[in-house]
């Protein structure tokens, strides 16, 4: 350690860092730090020339440790670890200082930001001095996959996997496959039959002997780690008594879908009170039955469609549910086809026609003479029962923004475009597979832009509306992406288990057993003979709870040792 040679590399990240942090000053500061023999700055450290510079310096200067002060380690720790590995160093002889996301991007004061960058760089240098080379273990990778949810996402992902020759298990809570799409008649914007889409999928799934479907079944627990999970499934599926089956799988794809917003929560839409105020799904039922009519069986003369029910609102959900605008236009189209003389009013906030074919569809719908009325986000239309003399059932008052007038429109049937919501059982699902949910309940992806189907838990993928509202094209894209990721993993044949785990030093363990009950993964076992505790490293997830709890300091948290963290504290405060 005393003879260590550290290389420090400061990234300008174009102007992202250089604009705020005085990089030349930081480079000079870093050069004077203990054991630093090389201190350089460069435009983009993560680029090929940037990485090459590090690799060359390792060879030329005999560096045994490297520090990069740049973006968040969550972005590029892996990149630089691979780079130094190429040069022959152990990938763990590396530390990053986050001087972008947590420095240059959040502080305007250039002097203060530079001082902070210096402190963070010093902390990284002092820490890396205590790093030890760590080896990754390789374990086998089970090629079977568990798919939770038998809707369009689940069916698609299962087919891609099975047609590549891999075993798939589909666990579906309900008694049939198809999910929410089974409740839909035609899909926008091309007016394909949802039933045809699904039937094609379901038939192929049923015919594929690599796919085992379990209906009326649920995941009870998931143990293990990527490549080596054991899923306990409670299966009803036609059996008189539910039984629990244990399945060995390598990966899991969560495709649990969404539920619709409860329109009854918005009282002045009168849902549940006015009989002809219905939700979009209730209208789909009508379309599937082939009859557009009021509750009393009459053909409606006036139909109004209201967008953003439960979405884009401060009170309920702030997000846009993405599919409703196109679906509403689809309804306008279908109503006009069924009842050409019907007056259709489309009451919206904004028309979200973002996808392929959407704007065309919008244009075509306005051509079939639909009345479009725009309302403001905070000024919802109000529905009331019409008076006896009126020739319609209900009247809707709209504070119309384009004209600036309050317009009253007649309606015999009102269709509420209810938004998407996370399912009630989503937290149960999240907990059982160990993924996170955001504050709206949607499952969180590993990176919103760069890694939309993976999660922070290795081996667990998410696809479709369970991650966020989306339409069929995006759902299918995600489902296929998840399958592709898994197939790529299976092709490698084995899994590298993280080298960072906790270790009980048998020379210092006194068998007090304080740690035994602490591990949420049951990775700690006690040897009755030797009277010592031990960590099963393959199961350990490196949270460090046992490390800090061990009263005799006998448990070492590899790559997060006390000594390394103390060094960081010293560096950050110097």
């Amino acid at each position: 350690m005393h003879n260590s040679k550290i290389g420090v590399y400061l990234c300008n990240c174009g102007t992202n860092i250089a604009k705020i942090v005085d990089c030349p000053a930081l480079r000079e500061y870093a050069e004077a730090l203990p054991n630093v023999v090389v201190s350089k700055e460069y435009k983009y450290m993560c680029s090929n020339p940037g990485q090459e510079m590090i690799i060359q310096d390792i060879k030329d200067h005999g560096l045994d440790r490297v520090v990069v002060a740049a973006c968040s380690p969550r972005m590029h720790e892996r990149t630089f670890r691979s780079a130094i590995q190429t040069a022959g160093l152990n990938p763990y002889m590396f530390e990053m200082a986050n001087i972008r996301e947590q420095c240059s991007w959040v502080h305007e004061d250039t002097w203060a930001a530079t001082e902070k960058a210096k402190a963070l760089t010093k902390a990284a240098v002092l820490r890396v001095l205590h790093h030890e080379p760590l080896e990754r273990m390789s374990v086998k990778m089970c090629p079977s996959t568990l798919v939770i949810g038998g809707g369009i996402a689940g069916l698609t992902t299962a087919l891609d996997l099975a047609e590549a020759g891999q075993q798939v298990y589909i666990v579906e809570k309900k008694d049939q496959l198809g999910g929410n799409l089974a409740r839909v008649d035609l899909t926008a914007p091309y007016l394909d039959s949802a039933r045809d889409l699904l039937t094609e999928r379901i038939t192929r799934v049923r015919e594929n002997n690599k796919i085992e479907v379990m209906l009326n079944s649920q995941l009870k627990s998931l143990e293990g780690f990527v490549g080596n999970f054991v899923a306990a499934i409670q299966i009803q599926d036609g059996r008189p008594v539910a039984e629990t089956k244990k399945l060995e799988v390598g990966n899991v794809v969560v495709c649990t879908g969404y539920k619709e917003f409860d329109a009854g929560r918005i009282t002045h839409y009168g849902y549940g009170k006015l009989p002809n105020v219905i939700t979009s799904f209730e209208f789909e039922k009508m379309l599937k039955a082939g009859r557009v009519e009021t509750k009393e069986g009459r053909i409606p003369q006036y139909v109004a469609i209201i967008h953003c029910v439960g979405s884009r609102s401060q009170e309920f959900h702030g997000y846009c549910s993405r599919v409703c605008c196109m679906t509403a236009l689809k309804y306008a189209h279908e109503i006009k086809s069924a009842i050409p003389k019907c007056y259709v009013s489309d009451v919206y906030i904004d028309m979200h026609a973002f996808g392929k074919g959407h704007e065309d569809f919008y244009k075509r719908t306005s051509e079939v003479k639909t009345l479009f009325l725009m309302y403001g986000k905070n000024e919802r239309p109000v529905i009331r029962k019409a008076d006896r003399g009126d020739d319609c059932e209900m009247l809707i008052e709209v504070n119309e923004k384009l004209s600036g007038e309050v317009i009253e429109i007649p309606a015999d049937l009102v269709i509420l475009m209810v938004g998407m919501e996370a399912r009630e059982d989503s937290s149960e699902v999240a907990r059982s597979v160990n993924i996170s949910q955001d504050k709206e309940g949607w499952f969180i992806e590993s990176h919103p832009k760069l890694d939309p189907v993976a999660t922070t838990t290795d081996g667990i993928y998410i696809a479709g509306t369970c991650a966020s509202p989306k339409d069929i094209p995006d759902t299918v894209a995600q489902a296929r992406a998840a399958a592709a990721r898994i197939l790529g993993k299976i092709a490698r044949g084995k899994i590298d288990v993280e080298a960072v785990y906790a270790e009980v030093n048998q020379d210092y363990c006194s068998g007090c057993r304080m740690c035994n009950e602490l591990c949420p993964y049951s990775a700690i076992e006690y040897d009755e003979q030797k009277r010592r505790s031990k960590v099963i490293s393959a199961v350990c997830k490196a949270c460090g709870a046992c490390v800090s709890s061990c009263p005799s300091g006998a448990i070492k948290g590899r790559h997060f040792t006390d000594r390394q963290i103390y060094a960081q504290i010293e560096g950050v405060l110097a």
Binding site: S72, P73, R74, N98, R100, E101, Q102, C103, W105, V106, H107, E108, D109, A112, A113, E115, K116, A119, L120, A123, R431, N434, S436, Q437, D438, K439, I444, T456, T457, V500, L518, P520, Y521, K541, A542, C543, G544, A545, V547, S548, S549, G557, F560, D562, I565, Y566, Q568, I569, E570, V572, L573
Partner: protein
């Protein structure tokens, strides 16, 4: 020149550190007084880290973890939650002001919240004044 507190932050990789990064990608500005140390889980925070931070000159220590029930490691934040009252009681016996050490739950999507917490803590500690710990320990040493 007004007193600029030095705050050490211990953030967990999955929630709070990601939330802090999100503040960055969203360009949410906050006081530059905090220096963050990344850990896998708030449960890794050994109370000695907090004591050492104070002894080495921190005016404040912020520990952030996932909201209860959302820990990436199931229960890590509960362990942190249990340690804190013990630690606070101990620090009180040492005569260290309660506001200098703070535990907050910050999720991966709460970039704004992280910024708000940092700003709030910085100002509170500015009002409290510098921590006397390091200067007293250094004086003790110098007197020997």
């Amino acid at each position: 020149m007004s007193f600029e507190p030095k705050i050490v932050g211990f953030l967990c990789q999955w929630c709070s550190y990601t939330g802090a990064d999100l503040a960055g990608t969203s360009r949410i500005q906050y006081r530059p007084n905090i220096r963050v140390i990344r850990l896998m889980c708030s449960a890794r925070v050994d109370p000695s880290f907090i004591a050492k931070s104070l002894a080495d000159g921190a005016d404040g220590v912020l520990v952030c973890g996932c909201h209860p029930g959302d820990c990436h490691y199931a229960e890590g934040n509960y362990k942190t939650m249990r340690r804190f009252p013990f630690l606070k009681k101990m620090l009180a016996a040492y005569g260290i002001e309660d506001e200098r050490v703070r535990l907050e739950w910050v999720s991966a999507s709460e970039g704004q919240r992280f910024a708000d917490v940092v700003n709030d803590m910085t100002e509170r500690i500015r009002l409290l004044g510098p921590s006397r710990v390091r200067s007293k320990l250094q004086t003790d040493k110098a007197e020997r």
